[in-house]
Amino acid sequence: MGRYVARRLLQMIPVFLGSTLLVFLMMYALPGDPVRALAGEQAVDQAQIAQVKKDLGLDLPIWQQYWNYLSGLFQGDFGTQIATQRPVADVIADAFPITVRLALFAFAFTVIVGISMGVFAGLKADTLRDRGLLVLTLLLISVPSFVLGFLAQYFFAHELGWVEPNVSAVAASQELILPAVVLGSLSLAYVARLTRTSVAENLRSDYMRTAVAKGLPKRRIIGVHLMRNSMIPVVTFLGTDIGTLMGGAVVTEGIFNVQGVGYNVFQALKSREGSTVVGIVTLIVVVYLVSSLIVDLLYAVLDPRIRYA
């Protein structure tokens, strides 16, 4: 177990280096120039641009730029945004907590509502309520999140006036509820379907018959014998899902003006802020790796047939 964890952590190093390099190269390959973009539509002196580039080290060969970036990173320097002169570390420190809160709300919504819906339908598979759930989840899966986001914004903010259409810069918790519901609704649909199938399948298994034959109360049969087994595939999905949620949601954060990770990545991409994009994406990759490690370990807790060596 300990060796397994150590191996997984060591594996993160090449993944980390590879992903930073890949994103770095992609930023380099993109057309556009962050220094030229500073001037907007105005005419600028080419010599001046060259000077700024030289100051920022952007005139060096790509491999040297990458080396400079990496060595900075290991000293805790994420670089500086060119346009705002803000350190990238500050940008991340501002955006990440907002995204974490948004992700946790969305995750809680997904888990609580999704699993309850799945169990509710799975216990009575192929009945009206089961069919109803399948239709509803199909709808959630097929409607793109920007449609759902705008619909929710229009309905709850403009028509009913329950919430403000835009989330303020501080992003208070109650402001994040609606974006979280919109963000979580896709995973909710998947979780509900996965739970439903898993519950319906395990319901027919031999050990469930044994549990009934033992004379256990219904609550115990479902709560202990059915749920433990049915949750195994769902937990796997939820683990990758929380990684994705933590990575920020460009569309949802954009619609509701949530100034989280996704929003900042999008802004940085538009202005070709290489170090910001690489910094945030690398962070997302690490979060994703850690969360999938936690899921794999949790998997062994839920299913004793799985052993790590």
């Binding site: 050990y207 018959r209 009934v212 034959a213 033992k214 202990v224 433990r228 299913d303």
Partner: protein, 352 residues
């Protein structure tokens, strides 16, 4: 000829003061399943009874309705699609089919317990065997976690699982097939029920382990003076442990008899066929007898005697009239207790 009846010399059944009749009495039980293709009539009027300390073997091919009958007794049929349109299942004189869910639940596990065929899939894979055994005491007797665990270890010792104390926290997949089946037996025995239904308890095991498991079951049954319904298609297993046999075919009982009587003089051509298809040492090198044809489709049970398309002695009457389960007598009319046959020509079969 004398009839060997082991029930005579066993101690009086527990709780016999409240009821002198049999422990379990199944009367005219019918079970059917609604499927896309029509109604499958799995059980069509089964009657049998078991007393305390007695072992009834229910014999039959796959699809003969023996397991479905057991599941109906246990109340673990999937309903729907299953349905019990007719019949009674009396436990100590009370019809379990008319009881409420709670009342029935309290009988399950505590008064009637069941041992399943495949212990690996019948035990919950994600819970330790200790937990699954202790659960019986915690739920039915309200014991604390610790006391229940101690009882679980005791039970595992009882069914002779080596190093029970160390193995109590192991999971089912960590045990061998024979040990798993012992755990199933321990779980059924936990609350010392009055009746145990064992549904092909040794089918999934290899032959040497089969004998051990059957011996253990028979020993524990004697000790606790339990009734035992042994469902099997293995005639070898039956001969050693059963007191009486009921042979099922297409959802009906076609013959009942005390165990040794049946082997000596079967009164139904189907039973004859089953006995003839046991390999015998003295017929080495000869071709083994097999009953011709296939078990009937339960969606379309043949008219008359269900066995008629496969029966070597079928006459016209077999194709039109359903033979009732009648008492079988000696040639001179002398009574043969416990013997019944559902064949129009039982006389020819037994005396011919």
């Amino acid at each position: 000829m004398t009839i060997i009846d082991k029930t005579a010399d066993v101690p009086a059944p527990r709780g016999s003061t409240e009821n002198s009749g049999p422990l379990l009495d199944v009367r005219d039980l019918h079970v059917e399943f609604k499927t896309r293709d029509g109604v499958v009539k799995a059980v069509n009027g089964v009657n049998y009874s078991v007393s305390a300390g007695e072992t009834l073997a229910v014999l039959g091919e796959s699809g003969s309705g023996k397991s479905v009958t057991a599941q109906a007794i246990m109340g673990i049929l999937d309903m729907p699609p299953g349905r019990i349109p007719q019949g009674e299942i009396l436990f100590r004189g009370e019809d379990m089919l008319t009881m409420g869910y709670e009342e029935r639940r309290k009988i399950r596990g505590q008064k009637i317990a069941m041992i399943f065929q495949d212990a690996l899939s019948s035990l919950n894979p994600v819970l330790t065997v200790g937990y699954q055994l202790a659960e019986m005491f915690r739920v039915h007797q309200g014991l604390s976690k610790k006391d229940a665990k101690a009882k679980a270890i005791e039970l595992m010792d009882r069914v002779r699982i080596p190093a029970a104390k160390e193995r109590v926290n192991d999971y089912p997949h960590q045990f061998s097939g024979g040990m798993r089946q012992r755990i199933m037996i321990a779980m059924a025995l936990a609350l010392e029920p009055d009746l145990i239904i064992a549904d092909e308890p040794t089918t999934a095991l290899d032959v040497t382990v089969q004998a051990q498991v059957m011996d253990l079951l028979a020993e524990l049954q004697r000790e606790y003076n339990m009734g035992l319904i042994l469902i099997t298609h293995d005639l070898g297993v039956v001969a050693d442990v059963a007191d009486k046999i009921a042979v099922m075919y297409a959802g009906r009982i076609v013959e009942t008899a005390p165990v040794h009587e049946l082997y000596k003089r079967p009164a139904h051509p189907y039973t004859r066929g089953l006995l003839d298809s046991i390999p015998r040492l003295d017929q080495k090198g000869q071709e083994l007898y097999a009953i011709k044809g296939l078990p009937p489709n339960l969606l379309k049970i043949p008219t008359g005697c269900a066995f008629n398309p496969r029966c070597p002695k079928a006459q016209d009457i077999c194709r039109t009239d359903v033979p009732p389960l009648l008492s079988v007598t000696e040639r001179d009319g002398g009574e043969l207790p416990g013997r019944h046959s559902a064949c129009h020509f039982w006389k020819e079969q037994i005396h011919g």
